[in-house]
């Protein structure tokens, strides 16, 4: 009995020791909100990495985009605006951009932001040894693709520090979306002096140097990250918040419960409560550039036939899906490019190119009959719809199964596949008909449309169309914006007419804001902007 008593006592002491250690840590982060404007948000998870070249996803961008700044920054209207660069000159052939960096652009440690920092950061991103997932975004820079594929060298890159504050970039072809692409965190500068001294400067708060609206005050990995206003930021007078606390709560129900109990200023809506919460006054809905869609495999029967593909697509009622299934006020998609992109004349791309598919079960029936006749089918080959095994994918797949059954009297089978295996199989063209999703890397319609060129890793349908490939290639080299958009309009029409994919709905960003939260800008390409955010008393 004595031995057990001792053991218990030892355990208790251990626990007590651990508790007190934690309490101290807790007090430190809580007692500082007196008079300061502190916004409490949730990042869902630990950012993958705060190395701008490595953190190529929303959890990293949420943080990075507010800590740092590139040559351009997306404005409140989601268009690229002067940022670290106060101006730029574009050569007549559209191939050379000369950026003039602000005299008062400084790093949080007081160092000036120089052209060399951009050369360093971009070269690092393109270096094959860095293994950046974002590197392909930079392939429009001269020499970048060769360097990243291991056949070129850093010296041949079209990057040049003309003097301390002048940075010159040479492109392979005029790229209309260039200024937009370089607002992505992968194109942020890296303080060369700091990085050479400490290659993992981005891994901890005390070594992190930022050049954006905020600086990294503390970072308790996997649990909390705190940003404070960056006094060295060139536009610091615009920044209203003193601090931003980022929690890392992955469960949306918990996030919502924390919001309800006043521990969080912003929350997503748990899917199961969508119906009761979506109409509330505190709901903010922003567009997100991307959509849910379905891929047909054109190498698998019966989807080698365009009419059969179209018949399936036209038997699905997108409006009903968003109204009764997803219930988050998404916009039904009748084209592949999301709303919110302006063409050369300032018109919305989606509105201009119009609805390229409609829900029409009558027409669908006709097309199915014609298609079956063309292929000589008496009976349609069996169709299986594969989806990655999440609850939302399952519900959507079941609804579509039912709609197709009602419209065309076809029984399609459903197959649920583990997420990683699903992507592997989809890439290997092993599915016949599958759930898909697309999110923009940068805000230009070409980013969406280039997915379906023959050699794109996003294609995953087996579909190949020479005219389409040609249009996209031309659009990438077209210097005239009007002509470029005409090529893109044409390409989208081909895609939607051939229909190797059919769109379901455009994503959106739905958040609950506490009453005093103001001016948070959520860009459709997926980063949140706190530069203008405020909390009123």
């Amino acid at each position: 009995m004595k031995k057990w008593g001792m053991l218990l006592l030892a355990m208790l002491m251990l626990v007590l020791a651990a508790c007190t250690a934690n309490e101290e840590a807790g007090n430190e982060s809580e007692g500082d909100s007196g008079g300061e404007k502190v916004l409490r948000m949730n990042n869902g998870t630990e950012p993958t990495s705060l190395d701008p070249s490595i953190g190529f996803d929303a959890p990293s961008w949420n943080i990075l985009n507010n800590l740092m700044e590139g040559l351009t920054r997306l404005g409140e209207d989601h268009q690229p605006k002067e940022a670290i660069a106060e101006s730029w000159d574009i050569s007549e052939d559209g191939l050379t951009y000369t950026f003039h960096i602000r005299e008062d652009a400084n790093w949080s440690n007081g160092d000036p932001v120089t052209a060399e920092d951009f050369v360093y950061g971009w070269t690092y991103m393109l270096d094959p040894d860095t293994a950046s997932s974002a590197a392909f975004l930079g392939y429009f820079i001269e020499g970048a693709e060769d360097f990243n594929s291991g056949s070129g060298d850093a010296e041949s890159l079209g990057l040049n520090a003309v003097d301390e504050k002048t940075f010159e970039v040479t492109l392979n072809a005029p790229t209309g979306s260039f200024l937009n692409i370089i607002s992505n965190p992968s194109f942020f500068p890296v303080n060369a002096k700091v990085a050479e001294e400490n290659p993992s400067w981005f891994a901890e708060a005390d070594s992190f140097v930022s050049n954006g609206p905020f600086m990294l005050e503390s970072w308790k990995h996997d649990s909390e990250l705190v940003m404070a206003k960056n006094e060295e930021y060139w536009d610091k007078d615009t920044v209203k918040l003193d601090k931003v606390h980022w929690a890392m709560v992955s469960n949306i129900s918990t996030e919502y419960q924390m919001f309800e109990s006043g521990d969080m200023d912003i929350s997503e809506i748990p899917a199961e409560s969508a119906e009761e919460l979506i109409d509330g006054d505190n709901v903010n809905i922003d567009d997100q550039a991307g959509l849910a869609f379905y891929r047909f495999n054109v190498n698998e029967e019966p989807f080698q036939n365009q009419k059969i593909r179209k018949a399936i697509a036209m038997s699905v009622n997108q409006q009903e899906i968003v109204e009764f299934v997803t219930k988050m006020e998404e916009k039904p998609a009748y084209g592949f490019v999301a709303p919110g992109f302006e063409d050369a004349e300032g018109n919305d791309f989606r509105e201009t190119n119009g609805d390229l598919i409609e829900y029409n079960p009558e027409e669908a029936k006709k097309l199915l009959e014609e298609g079956m006749e063309e292929e000589g089918y008496d009976e349609l080959p069996e169709i299986t719809l594969s989806y990655s095994n999440t609850e939302s994918n399952r519900v959507r797949a079941e609804s579509i199964q039912q709609m197709i059954n009602q419209s065309l009297d076809i029984d399609i089978k459903l197959s649920s596949v583990e997420a990683t295996v699903f992507l592997d199989e989809q890439r290997g063209l092993k599915h016949q008909f599958s759930t898909s999703s697309f999110l923009h890397d940068y805000a230009d319609p070409i980013n969406a449309l280039e997915s379906f060129t023959t050699d794109s890793t996003m294609n995953r349908t087996g579909w190949s169309n020479a005219e389409y490939d040609q249009l996209i290639a031309q659009a990438k080299e077209e210097a005239d914006e009007k002509a470029r958009f005409d090529l893109l309009y044409e390409a989208e029409k081909i895609l939607m007419d051939e229909m190797p994919i059919f769109p379901l709905y455009f994503y959106n960003q739905v958040y609950l804001y506490a009453d005093d939260v103001q001016n948070i800008v959520r860009h459709p390409v997926g980063y949140v902007e706190l530069k203008w955010a405020d909390k009123t008393e």
């Binding site: 590197a135 469960n251 990683t420």
Partner: protein
Amino acid sequence: MARYIVKRFFIMIITVLVIATLTFFLMHSIPGSPFNQERGTSEAVQANLEAFYGLDEPLYVQYGMYLKSIVTFDFGPSIKNPNQTVNDLLSRGFPISFELGIITILVALISGVTLGIIAALRHNGVIDYLAMTFAVLGISVPNFVLATLVIQQFAVNWSILPAATWSSSAHMVLPTLALATGPMAIIARLTRSSMLEVLTQDYIKMARAKGLTPMKIILKHALKNAMMPVVTILGTLVAAILTGTFVIEKIFAIPGMGKYFVESINGRDYPVIMGTTVFYSSILVFMLFLVDVAYSLLDPRIKLNAKGGE
């Protein structure tokens, strides 16, 4: 005893190695790669990533590198969190899971045993039925349901405890409650049934006849023997709870190591899968060893020496 421990130690090492090897080959036999993502990238980018993590090497070379990483206990960087090594993740997550786990086990053990004893003493009485109804509920309500329920009540409706995250002792109350209820119920039922059995034994009658107080009979004579089945399940239970629980840590946003077991497999984060497996299996075989030692302490008839008992 010393010989037994040395022998057990070697068996433990071999067990861990076998588990690790099986995991390595199973892991590589499941389809999918850590770099699969919905987003498209270029072929060159994929190749750079594979080279970076040594995944372009033949499998036997990877196995060799991996055996080396077990011996040195250095599993390299995680693929999903590239700036952190597996050791970083484990050394940060384990203390937190351990802390929650120890409290949970203490709460479950003390309340479970107490409940079990009371139920056994009031066999077929009202208290017995109440205690056992409570135990059945505890076993059948999954902990994630209980977790959501307690957050809603204590944090949202009554605002007396924080809903989630992990920064003060107040934050520990709800997860402990959610996590301890199940094991407590199991322990209570086990204690009750083995207690009932022990109480009918001759040596208890003997103790009574000698005029010992009921308290002394229970604590000194009955409980020790009644604990055998509880100790048996405690080995695996402790290993499982100390290394964190995915669901509870997720719901309460506790930065423990529980999530790595599940997320590393979903994301095919090979270094993390291997690190967590080796770590968990080491703890498990060690706990099972402790259970064996505990047997001999509780019951002198069980001898640990290879020659066996008399």
